[in-house]
């Protein structure tokens, strides 16, 4: 059965940024998943972070405090 939940995907410039962001998100207690970068968004072979869409704005503003500006796409 298809889930009704919507997810946001956070795409980063580098693995360094992914790890910095993961550290911040995990400390904030939000649910997230490390997933391969979906090929429809990038040809990267690395990782990105999937979060619950409801948490997107709070996570983004938290990351901005650390000068981390991911690209956000909805799924």
């Amino acid at each position: 059965m298809k889930s009704d939940r919507e997810f946001s995907i956070l795409l980063f410039q580098s693995i360094h940024q992914v790890m910095r962001a993961e550290n911040i998100i995990s400390k904030n207690g939000c649910n997230y998943q490390i997933i391969p970068v979906p090929s429809e968004y990038s040809s990267e072979c690395g990782m990105c972070i999937e979060i619950d869409s409801l948490n997107t704005s709070s996570i983004i503003s938290e990351l901005q405090k650390y000068n981390i500006e991911p690209k956000v796409v909805k799924r």
Partner: protein, 373 residues
């Protein structure tokens, strides 16, 4: 008893945590980025944690500007060969290692630069008073070896940077990191090169470069980064711009273990300074150390006056098991500065694992050899 006195070449023994974390990586595996399964995530996280530890050690909040290299030499080459020279002049401190002098000489041979040496005192300490007359804005870059690998002189980096003003400073921290305070942000250091296997007591094959302004350098090595893969151009963002190819993850795990071990020095600094004072009294051996103990690190040299340096090094090993390094220590410029070129010296470099008893034993052996002559 610890008779290994060649820690400036590479530290030994290592903290037990080095083996623990290297073993952890060997059993776990995984590369840095370039995938999204747990093995990769764990390895990447450890690499980034180690990057953060290095930024704390050298005193910078710019952890993205810490770039992993394979040693200090590759870090120094990245700056020296990637720098955009406009004036064609570089100024260096008088106790430089060949990791600096050889890439500079290479550029000189190509007609890219000329290099000059800062005025200095008899022990190679930069003479700040004589240096004041230098027009530093005529130079593209100033390079300073923080701690000499020959006589252990620690250069007054903060004062040097203050003196040279806006001219960029490249600090070679190969011998100082892990031993001497470094405050990259407070001192406004532009570039810093370090290695894992000396003062930090990690494994060989890992180094790091701090770059304050990444636009000032072109990459030294080009290749895959796991980012912007659709392009033949190197990414402009840090750290990827300077981290082509898979890093030495095994070594980085070992370095993580070395840093988190937080090893305390077991001998007292007073005992070390007393050792130098006693050695200075021996008539057949000339001590090479800082003129002022405030500028002394845990490295010093001895020039035997009635035998060759290789003979003294051999006798110390054969008769007492003391391991040292004799010769020029890849630092011909330092030995020219100190008047010990071309024969060099016998070098003694300590570890945090040495004890006061080890220092006493060393002194007794050198006294005994001095009396034989």
């Amino acid at each position: 008893m610890n008779l290994y006195f060649d820690n400036s070449a590479t530290s030994f023994p290592k903290p037990p945590e080095v083996e623990i974390y290297i073993r952890e990586y060997l059993l776990q595996g995984g590369t840095y980025g370039r995938g999204a399964y747990n093995r990769v995530f764990l390895a990447s996280k450890r690499v980034e944690e180690t990057r953060n530890l290095i930024s704390n050690i050298i005193g910078t909040g710019l952890n993205s500007n810490i770039l992993f290299t394979f040693n200090s030499t590759s870090a120094l080459n990245t700056v020296i060969k990637g720098f955009n020279y406009k004036k064609g002049r570089v100024l260096i401190s008088p106790l430089e290692h060949n990791a600096v002098c050889r890439p500079l000489q290479h550029l000189k041979n190509l007609g890219v630069i000329e290099f000059d040496i800062l005025p200095h005192c008899s022990d190679g300490l930069v003479d700040l008073i004589s240096s004041k007359s230098i027009e530093f804005d005529q130079y593209d870059l100033v390079i300073v070896n923080h701690t000499s690998n020959v006589n252990g002189v620690i250069q007054p980096v903060s004062e040097i940077k203050e003196m040279i003003g806006s001219t960029p400073l490249l600090l070679d921290a190969s011998q100082s990191v892990g031993k001497t305070e470094i405050r990259v942000d407070d001192w406004s250091i532009d570039y810093l090169a370090l290695t894992a296997h000396k003062g930090l007591m990690g494994p060989t094959g890992v180094g790091a470069l701090f770059v304050r302004n990444s636009d000032s350098l072109s990459p030294f090595i080009h290749g895959g980064t796991g980012s912007l893969s659709e392009s033949f151009e190197m990414p402009e963002h840090l750290p990827d711009k300077f981290e082509a190819g898979t890093p030495n993850i095994l070594g980085i795990y070992g370095l993580y273990g070395a840093i988190t071990a937080n090893t305390e020095r077991q001998y007292s600094w007073t005992s070390f300074i007393s050792l130098l004072k006693e050695l200075n009294k021996l008539r057949n051996l000339k001590l090479l150390a800082a003129n002022n103990a405030d500028y002394q690190s845990d490295v010093f040299s001895i020039k035997p006056l009635v035998q060759s340096v290789s003979d003294l090094s051999r006798v110390l090993y054969q008769n007492y098991g003391i391991e040292t390094r004799s010769g020029l220590h890849c630092s011909p410029l330092a030995h020219q500065t100190l008047g010990t070129f071309p024969d060099g010296t016998v070098r003694f470099s300590l570890s945090k694992y040495h004890t006061d008893n080890d220092l006493e034993f060393l002194l007794n052996c050198l006294v005994k050899e001095n009396e034989k002559r």
